[in-house]
Every structure is written in structure tokens, then in C-alpha cells.
Symmetry: C2
């Protein structure tokens, strides 16, 4: 939407400026921010239009970015350059103080852990912009930004030591079981109405005026996540308000103003993903037309095309929608069985992210009562089908600090196993079920290994039985490792194993050799074909 080859005049104007000069430099995919003084009268959030036109020397494209009012008469334009080189910009505004400002800067190469924003790779997977594969292993702290400073710090300390490289968190505060505290900041200014007049305890907000303090805090959190290598799957709407603040039932006009403001502030943050909602279908006030408008607005306002999804409660969103980049799913039973989640991959032909499949914990509610074994098992079941998994933790606590909602510390035993699985996937690449007719426990990895996962079965031996679709030639030597997914060990299986076709569908072991197994659950075999 914003990348246009028109505007030839503007282009010329940009490059008539001298290139050398006062321009700062910015690293590729970092944030270049331009701050300007402008009008404070009226409602600058609504009244002032500010755009920036950015063009790299030698390119014919201009990238248009929307600026925003940051309070106290200050305006900002943020830009995430996707290419190195010399860049120029010019501002466009209906406020003369903000119009026609120009500048130059140099974009230098990315360094360290900066691989750029995440995008879709090969239909089902993800990569960073520089091509490095990215395998999401998420967690959930819905109201991370709405806790006091001490708790928030503890959460970041925990994340620094945890295996998670994606987090789901909400912009708006949460009003739900185990989570009733008032937030530190509110996204809107208090209005001039009063709660009593409104007929309930809802405070009356001025939805046309944002509180920049709220957003600066949100941004600081997103930057802290980035520093930890964590993608921020930012939830733009959610139903856990129930009218308390009313952020779940604003008018369409207010919803869209809010989205435009959020995207103007945050699209230059490279680790942002747009989750239009958590459990969108539980937001009874919203219609399909609303979700369409939200997707369209976010896609139109974001010049970088950050990942977009709509997470469901009971009823799946239509993830075939062209503006949905990946399926963000909730399903409580899909990972409890061999191969089931593979159906979602087949149906949507997009990356599948199981963003909710119950949490490890001891809640009386079944969505929060998984054992660590079950959580770990579900993660392996999902990973075998090529789905990506999002952890959450729900242990009852005297202080009501539950990781899933507020953060704090992790108490469960699954995170260590998820770290082990993440290492496995980062070593072998993503997996998928190679023959979805039968052998639903057998996947192949990007590296070409074959993974047989036994789940809750606890066999004492395994007769080699690989799908013919692995195309192992007769005589191929097979290196076999035994992976204990619970105890996090990998040991080679002793013995020589050689592939031999048995039927048109099955490849077995040439001499009928079987693999000894320990008779415990949660075992996997990794079969690596070696040269004949």
C-alpha cells in the first residue's frame, strides 16, 4: 500500500538534497526516529496528519510511513530501513511546522543478533529477513505490561533464562479470573464524563486522545523482548475486559483510530507481530466486518508487512484470508494424538502456530491443568506435524501471580523440555509427517532425518517400519539415536541397521534387526540415513 513508484516529483525533490551532511546512521532493521515540534492546539491525535516519504539512493520506490503525536507538542516518525545505503526523507503534513522537513541518513549492515523481522518461509515455516530460519517457541503472559515494576522486572529476568523466543501479550489490560488488578497505565486519556453518568462503574475515556506514557512503556517492553531475542505477538483486542474499561466495545471509529495509532508507533519495531485478537469469537460486540476492517487497516498502515493472525476461541477464523499470514489456533485436543495437527497444515497451507492448547498447571479449569508430561508430549506431537507451539503456565498461587497472565517466575517442568525440543528443532529443522495415510508418528526433518515418536506408548522394542515415502534405497545404512524427550537425553542405538524395502509402502531392516527401547513413554528415535 505504501510502497509506490509514483510520486516522481517527490523523488526528484528528495535527491536534489546533498547526500553528505548531518545525517545520522542506523543499522538495517533498527529504528530511525525523527522527532519534530508541532501544534498542541485542538486534538493533535485527530487533527494533524503527518507522513514521511523515505527513499533509498538508487531505488525508485518510496516508502510512506505514518507519524504520530507523542504528547507535549512533539511528533515522531519512525522508520525501519530494510536495505543498507543512503536514505533521504521528506515529511508531509497539514501542519506547516511539520511539513517539508527533509533529512538524510545512512543505513549500515545488521550486526549481532539482528536478523530483521520474521516472515513466512516455504509455506509452512518462518525465517528472519536475512534468511536465517526462525522456529517459534512461544509463551503467554497476557497482561505482562499491566503489572507493577517489580513484577515486570522479574518477568523479564525469567524470560532471559527461559527457552522462549516469542511471547503473546495484550495491549489492553485484562479483567479475568486471577487477573483483576488495575493496570499501571491506560492507553487513553480519562474523559470529561463521569462513571456514574455512564450508568456503571466503567470509567469514561476520551478514545480520541491517547496517553503517550502508556505507549512508551509498551515500547520499552517490546524493546526489552527484542534484546532477549523474543518476538512480540502483540494482541490488539481481547474479550477479557467485559465492559470494565470498555476497550472491548469501542465504536468502529475508535477501534480504527486506535489501530492506526498503534501501527504508527510500533511497525518500526522489528520483533512485532500483529495478533488482531485473542479469542476473537468471544468478542460478542464485534462482527465479521469488524475483523475485516481491522485486518485491512493494519495491513494498509504497516509498510513492512509484519505477520498478521487472528486467534480463535471456539470458532476458527478463516485463515485462508489473504491478509492472514499464519494460522494462530486454539485447540485443546489437536495435539493429544498422532498427526492430528497436520490436518491444519494441509487445510491452510500456511504456518500453523498452536497458540493455545491448554497450559501446564493445576487450575481447576481444564484449560489450565496439564501435567508437565502432557504439555511436553503435546509440544512433540505438534512439532512432528510441523506446527509451532506456544507454552503457558497456570499454577495457583497465593499472590495470584500466574505466569500465563501476569508473568513472574516459572514453576513448571515443561520449559526445560521445551528448551530441549527447541534445540532439537534448531538442529534438525522443522518436521512434517512424511506419509499422512499411515505412520502418523513418523516425521522427516529439514535435515533429512526420520523421527519416530512413540508418545505415551512404552514399547520395549521397535521393528524398523519406515514409510516408503522416505525413499530410502535398499542398503542404506541407518544411524539411529534414542531420544528421551522427558529426561532430555540422546543416546546412539548400538548395532548396524540397513534399510530394505519390504512392501510397496514399508521399508524395514535388512536382517530383521529390531531396536531395543526402554519401555518408558515419551521416547523418540531419530533415524539418519548414511551413505550405502
Amino acid at each position: 500500500m505504501h510502497r509506490q513508484t509514483s510520486g516522481i516529483f517527490l523523488l526528484f525533490a528528495l535527491f536534489l538534497l546533498p547526500l553528505s551532511g548531518e545525517g545520522a546512521s542506523v543499522e538495517r532493521w533498527n529504528r530511525y526516529e525523527i522527532r519534530l515540534k508541532g501544534p498542541q492546539a485542538g486534538n493533535p491525535f485527530d487533527d494533524v496528519v503527518l507522513k514521511g516519504a523515505f527513499c533509498r539512493e538508487g531505488d525508485t520506490d518510496t516508502i510512506y510511513v505514518t507519524g504520530f503525536y507523542d504528547g507535549n507538542g512533539e511528533y515522531a516518525l519512525r522508520f525501519m530501513p530494510g536495505e543498507t545505503g543512503a536514505w533521504r526523507y521528506r515529511t508531509i503534513s497539514n501542519a506547516s511546522a511539520l511539513n517539508g522537513k527533509t533529512g538524510v541518513f545512512v543505513c549500515t549492515g545488521a550486526t549481532g543478533n539482528n536478523h530483521g523481522p520474521v516472515t513466512v518461509r516455504d509455506t509452512y515455516d518462518f525465517k528472519y529477513a536475512d534468511g536465517t530460519p526462525y522456529y517459534p517457541f512461544g509463551t503467554t503472559v497476557y497482561a505482562l505490561i499491566h503489572q507493577d515494576e517489580a513484577l515486570e522486572s522479574r518477568t523479564f529476568e525469567t524470560l532471559a533464562a527461559a527457552p522462549f523466543n516469542k511471547i503473546r501479550m495484550c495491549v489492553f489490560p485484562k479483567n479475568y479470573a486471577y487477573n483483576k488488578n488495575e493496570p499501571r497505565f491506560y492507553p487513553f486519556e480519562k474523559g470529561t464524563g463521569n462513571a456514574a453518568e455512564a450508568g456503571n462503574e466503567t470509567a469514561v475515556w476520551n478514545f480520541a486522545r491517547f496517553d503517550p506514557e502508556f505507549f512508551r512503556h509498551l515500547e520499552a517492553c517490546i524493546d526489552r523482548l527484542e534484546a532477549l531475542g523474543i518476538q512480540c505477538d502483540l494482541i490488539l483486542f481481547h474479550p477479557y475486559d467485559k465492559g470494565r474499561w470498555g476497550f472491548d466495545r469501542m465504536t468502529r471509529e475508535n477501534d480504527l483510530r486506535y489501530l492506526r495509532y498503534v501501527v504508527a508507533r510500533l511497525s518500526s519495531f522489528r520483533n512485532v507481530w500483529w495478533s488482531m485478537a485473542n479469542e476473537y469469537d468471544y468478542m460478542r460486540e464485534k462482527t465479521p466486518a469488524d475483523w475485516e476492517a481491522f485486518l485491512q487497516t493494519v495491513a494498509a498502515e504497516d509498510p513492512y508487512g509484519h505477520l498478521r493472525s487472528v486467534h480463535n476461541g471456539d470458532r476458527y477464523f478463516d485463515h485462508t484470508h489473504p491478509l492472514v499470514t499464519h494460522a494462530s489456533l486454539q485447540n485443546a485436543s489437536i495435539l493429544s494424538d498422532f498427526g492430528r495437527a497436520g490436518l491444519m497444515r494441509d487445510v491452510y497451507a500456511k504456518p500453523i502456530v498452536m497458540d493455545e492448547f491448554c497450559y501446564e498447571g493445576n487450575f481447576p479449569e481444564r484449560w489450565g491443568d496439564l501435567s508437565a508430561e502432557e504439555m511436553t508430549h503435546r509440544c512433540w506431537q505438534g512439532a512432528l506435524t510441523g506446527a509451532y507451539l506456544t507454552h503457558g503456565e497456570t499454577f495457583l498461587s497465593d499472590d495470584d501471580v500466574v505466569w500465563w497472565s501476569k508473568g513472574g517466575v516459572l514453576k513448571g517442568e515443561s520449559p526445560a523440555r521445551i528448551a530441549f525440543l527447541r534445540d532439537f528443532v534448531e538442529k534438525h529443522g522443522s518436521m512434517h509427517i512424511i506419509d499422512n495415510w499411515r505412520n502418523l508418528n513418523t516425521a522427516v526433518t529439514e535435515s533429512g532425518a526420520i523421527v519416530v515418536y512413540f508418545g505415551k506408548e512404552a514399547p520395549k522394542e521397535w521393528e524398523v517400519n519406515l514409510p516408503a515415502k522416505t525413499r530410502l534405497a535398499d542398503g542404506t545404512k541407518l544411524k539411529i539415536d534414542l531420544v528421551d524427550t522427558w529426561n532430555m537425553t540422546t543416546v546412539p542405538v548400538a548395532g548396524d541397521f540397513t534399510a530394505k524395502g519390504q512392501t510397496r509402502y514399508v521399508i524395514g531392516e535388512a536382517a530383521g534387526r529390531k531396536v531395543k527401547l526402554p519401555g518408558r513413554p515419551y521416547m523418540a528415535l531419530v533415524v539418519t540415513p548414511e551413505s550405502k
Copy 2:
């Protein structure tokens, strides 16, 4: 597309005719055919446009129907009236002999087993146009119309005694294992080219000229199916030609001419469904744009909106497509496990028809090697999720007459069980898994019964464990019947059973009474709530 409120002049013209007169009468949803003599010169299939405008007295809508050339200088217009009353028509043609013909007829009420065409009911199910529920239990005889007369007659005799009320069959002949015979008729005239010139053994067809004989035979078969109460899920394209006749690799122009001709001839047949293809993704010559054009063409040419689907091989079609009325799926493993097919219902929010999930038989190919027990089991697994099932049978035979392709006689043991299942569904209504988080073996029926299916498990007793989502009040008396899905028996379970909530998710039996079970597989319990 064809139902228009414009054309006011035409409407007036129609009703200026006297209503009384020579008009014949036709039963609602039957076929009213107008036959006209017209030009034979040139290529009447391409050169002559013939439309009929039909209007019912008192209506403002006009329904436009496309006529077709039937050979020997004869043209026909066929119309299926959807409402009783007095109808008038006027023809429109670029051939003066066919233009401006008018007539009147009376549409009388439907009688007997005429319930009209089938349409979607309540998102997931089907009904006839008169509102009567329709539960498809299909079978597969792909090349039914391409066998000799004796075999074809035997097929219809078998169908008359079989439990199937839908059949999947192809327009084009089939060139595939166990099915290499030349067809009785060809849809196109032989061309003037010769096979040798074409560089292979393919006969050279004149794709611009149809053979009406072929279509009259097809139509007779569809009418014979209708007389047996069988919906014809007519497969318009398929990949099992492999260039032998070349019907799988015509040009877009020829494909669309063919579709328009088929729809002009057949849309007035009330039992027709349009299956755009079998295994569309195996037709390597076709592109996504082709399937889009096919769906658009069929939808535009069919004034009645018959059901439309696109059946897959490995890769699902996008069944969220607005012109796809139901998901016609192939999946070899989705019915082998509890609740799995329910995912398709959740994803597509359309009726799910499992049109291929392997066949009962003894083929060496695994798609044709199911035992009768497995076929029956899969049908129950599917039915519990609200999916509809299509049978097929593949027993090796010295004469190469295999039901799945050529028809003949049924040899398997599943059809009797499918009859039993059909009776069950027609009595209780369709089912769906009531709590798709757990209890994936437990469905509720439209009639309000709860069905617990044990599949391959063979328990000796069952501790009452019903999902709280059944909302059975404490104290509700439960009538329980034991259904042996394999032996086709239903017997009441002795004893008094009373519902009592146990946890927030589970309803048990008030006195802890258990249900005795025979310790054999394939058992189901039907739990019917009675008043307190």
C-alpha cells in the same frame, strides 16, 4: 446470475399471452422440456444461441435457462420449476426459427418421493428443497456409464437393493488400473484429423461438436438413479485419462464449452450435484485459474444452484471458496481415529463429505484394502463427527469388474452395516462431537440422544461419563441402548440410570452404576435423556 428482475419488457410480453390454452403440466422440480426445430448448417453447438425466459404468474423474477443443440436439427430447452403455479416462457435466439417462441404450462405439486433438489441445511447438513432432511450415504462407481448394457443393468439392480442414496460417477471414460475398456459412447464427435498425425494413439476429437447420443445415455442413467432415490454426484473432470482420449487436457475454450453444454443439458435434473473433479490436484495440466473458471462457469450457467464441490487427491481444494457448497474430501487416515474429522467441520463451516477414505476390498494398493470392519468403523467415526461418508468397494476379480469403477455386484460386508448406520442417522438425525476438548468418542444427535462409540476398544463395562456440555440436569433419567454396529443389533441396557454432575466437566451416574458391555469392539451406547 439468471434470476433477474430487469427485463421488464420481456415480462410484459410474457403475460400478454393468454394463460389458458395448450400448455402442458409438469410436477414441481420435474423437468419441463421444450423441443424446437432449428438450423443444422455450420456448427449449431457453437453458432446458435438459445435461451429461454421463464416467469411464473405473480412473480417479478424471470429465470433464464440456456438451451442446447440435440442433433438432427433439434434443439431443446429444459426447465425445472421450483414453484407451483402458471408459468410462461419465451425463447430468445440468434436463429429466427428458434426465436420468440412462447408457451404456457402449469406446475403442479410434487408427489411421491419427489422432494426437490438437495441443498445445504444449517451449515453442516443437507435437506431437500421441500425441507425434508437428506443424509448422504454415497457409493462410488466412477465409470458406471462406460460399461456394456448388461453390466450397467446389473449395476442398477444392485443399487436398487443397496443402502446408497448418492453416487459418485464420471462423465468422461476412465483409463486406469482395472479399468482400461473403451467406453460405449464418447462425448465428442470424432474429428477429421487422424491419430497417427497427432503423434500418439490419441484419437483426434472435434471438441466443438458433442455427440448427443452420449448425453442421452448419461441422462437416462441419471434418471434411473433419481428413480432409485440416488443423488448423482457427477464428476466433470478427472485425471484418469492420461492423454489416452485427451479429455483431461483440453484447452480452456474446450473445457468451458463442454461445461456449458453439460450444464445446459443437466441442470434441470434435480438429483445432479456438480463435482468439478475427482482428485483435481492430480490433473497436472490444470491451474488454479482453471478451477476458478470452472466453478464460475458452472455457477453462472446453472440457474438452480445445484451443489458444487472440488474433490482432492493429496492437496485440499480451498473449500472456503464461496462457490463451493460443501467440502468433498479425500483423506485416508482422518476417519481412523476419534473425532478427527470434526476438525474439518470446524475449519470449513460447511457440510463435510468424506468422499474417499479408502475402499473395502483386497487390492494390493492400500487405498483399496480395507476390511469390512475397518470400513464400517470409519463410517461410524465419521458419522459421529457429523461428516458424511462415501463407500467404495475394490475386490479383485477375474473379469476385472470392480464395483468402485465399473459397478456390477457388491461383494463386501460393509454395505449391510452402512444400511444399519443410515437407518440410525435417519432416525436420530446427524451427530456432532459435543465437547471437542475431551470425550472425542461422544456425540449428540439432532434428536437429543447422546452417542458414545467405543470403536476398536472392547471394554467390559463403562462408567457413565458424559460431557457437562450435554447439560443433563441432575436427576434426569437415562434410557441406555447398546448398539452393536457390526452385528447390527440394538438392545436396551437393563437398569435405572440417573444423571448427576460430578465435576464441572463430567456428568456421571447418581448411584455410580456402570453399564455392562460385551467386551467386543465396535459397540456404541445411545443415551436418551428422559424427563426427571
